[in-house]
Symmetry: C2
Subunit: 331 residues, 2 copies
């Protein structure tokens, strides 16, 4: 049995196996947090065809939430920032959902748990829902799971949905970039600004945060970011906000910067362009998953065994063998 | 221009653009280290069609090297272990190539550089070649690049090729598992044994190392590993070796355990079974890359834009949109 999430299941299979989908979708939309948690677990599991059924049921009820991505290297204080933002929005009566995606489970599970504990401030608040998700080691699992999770949270009716990711590479940055507004956090004297520039994170940012701004080197980090912006930016000039999230300093400014970007997006169909981008990423990843799943079926069969044998016997090189497989898929 | 490595380029394009392939392959096989370095850079870049041409030229000269995977969580001392093993093999006149694959560049680049500095012991030894590779943020880049790198190192004529990976998840463990012999390293009191068990690392191990065995808790870690083995193992019972790699302690035993596993593999066609597995992984990843590349072409076109628009307008759910895309590929 393949553990690869795939889009290849026919609709009839959904009807047969996803019999509780209607009830789950209804409870989720009515604010039942256990139903929401169950839906997110389905995404982690990549369980077809139940997930396909659920997504089809929830998708018509999306489009309300403001989606905010928070990314940056490990240790920069992303969870503290997120927690402070959550508090800010709750004081203004907005409901908030948080999805923290961990690309490197299970070995960083411990650290992530520590982050979550810091968010216990909100544990008794019914207007907040926080969930960290692991992607169970699927290659490409992050880009596959993230748009699914945002869709489910959006359909659950939150006013704001925060997507927190560890920005360790370009792939993770792309994932964070599916939000309406992407906040990129760095800290002083970690060489973060330079590293972020190399990783292409700067291009993904709608708002920069220099967190732990009470540390030495904060001014220099702000200057480095400003210098990098002189090299060019798009139609939106990302503001640079300094915060000390652990003491709540700078959070008003950060929330205002996020709201400014949102207002800018709302003009001239820019929000729709963002959402088209997100839809493209989502659909493409589902299609690739379907192809991978189909490839898995071929790979389980005799075709792959035969060509792999020829590769080991030095009769066929790996690329030529791959061509044979692709041809076997009817390509 | 897509940055996705793909297998879809026609052979004629290779001939046109890979004109230096013959010379590069010849120099690489003659022991030219700069040619080897250039070939590995091609793999990092995922540059088609040059890479396809080079792989086809080198593949006939593979099969000599003993491939050893070394994996484990961050901080366990993998580079120190590898360095000590390299010294051991060099004292016995075996030439050794090391490929260290870093799945999370660029933010861990600094730590990796530190590891490399520790390997400077070997810098003047022509019988050793050490290279760390980043996969430039390609999703799935690790499983795509690793068999390519092993093929190139094998063709370069090393007696032993070590593949060092950070074992952060199941995907990375699968990658390490393409070696002939996979060494899984843990350290005392990091909760590593338990975490490794959860991550499925235990099943991938041919040899266990408890490194930093002079630390408190080493005995308990060995017992935990032994207990986990009682729950069942395959036809090969992985030995558990205790080392203090920084002082060279236990390296004789570790090298002997690797040699024992190699001798066991050599009997009953087991080595061929391993190599079939590696060929399957390699060919499958190249085929998936080709499909992804083709999907990229569709995704650049009007098909994805059209369905993404319908998704945003809530007329089509993402799975149904993905079905449309897959159908557009002739599937």
């Amino acid at each position: 049995v393949s553990s690869e999430p795939g889009a290849g299941a026919p609709a009839s299979a959904s009807a047969a196996h996803g019999g509780d989908g209607a009830a789950l979708a209804e409870r989720l939309r009515a604010g039942d947090r256990r139903a929401l948690a169950r839906a997110l677990t389905r995404i982690e599991d990549g369980a077809e065809p139940e997930l396909r059924d659920l997504v089809a049921r929830l998708h018509p009820f999306t489009g309300h939430a403001q989606l905010v991505g928070v990314t940056g290297p490990p240790g920069v204080g992303k969870s503290t920032l997120t927690s402070a933002l959550v508090r800010w929005w709750r004081q203004r009566d907005a409901t908030v959902g948080v999805v923290a995606v961990d690309p490197t489970s299970p070995f960083t599970g411990g650290a992530l748990l520590g982050d979550r504990i810091r968010m216990q401030d909100h544990i008794l608040d019914r207007g907040v829902f926080i969930r960290s998700m692991a992607t169970r080691g699927h290659l490409g699992g992050l880009s596959w799971a993230t748009p699914q999770a945002l869709l489910v949270m959006d359909a659950a009716g939150f006013d704001v949905v925060v997507l927190e990711t560890v920005g360790v590479g370009q792939a993770e940055v792309e994932v964070a970039g599916v939000a309406d507004t992407t906040v990129v956090a760095v800290a002083p004297d970690m060489g973060d600004a330079v590293q972020a520039a190399k990783a292409g994170i700067l291009e993904a940012a709608d708002v920069f945060v220099v967190n732990k701004a009470d540390r030495e080197g904060a001014g220099r980090t702000v200057r480095e970011l400003r210098d990098s912006q002189r090299l060019g930016h798009g139609p939106w000039m990302p503001p640079i906000v300094s915060t000390v999230a652990s003491r709540g300093e700078g959070i008003d400014e950060l929330a205002a910067a996020i709201a400014d970007h949102r207002a800018w997006l709302a003009a001239d169909d820019r929000l729709r362009a963002r959402r088209l981008h997100r839809a493209r990423v989502h659909v493409r990843e589902l299609a690739v998953a379907a192809l991978r799943s189909r490839m898995g079926a071929v790979a389980e069969g005799v075709a792959l065994d035969a060509v792999a044998g020829q590769v080991v016997d030095l009769e066929l090189d790996p690329y030529a063998a791959a061509d044979t497989l692709v041809a076997a898929l009817g390509g």
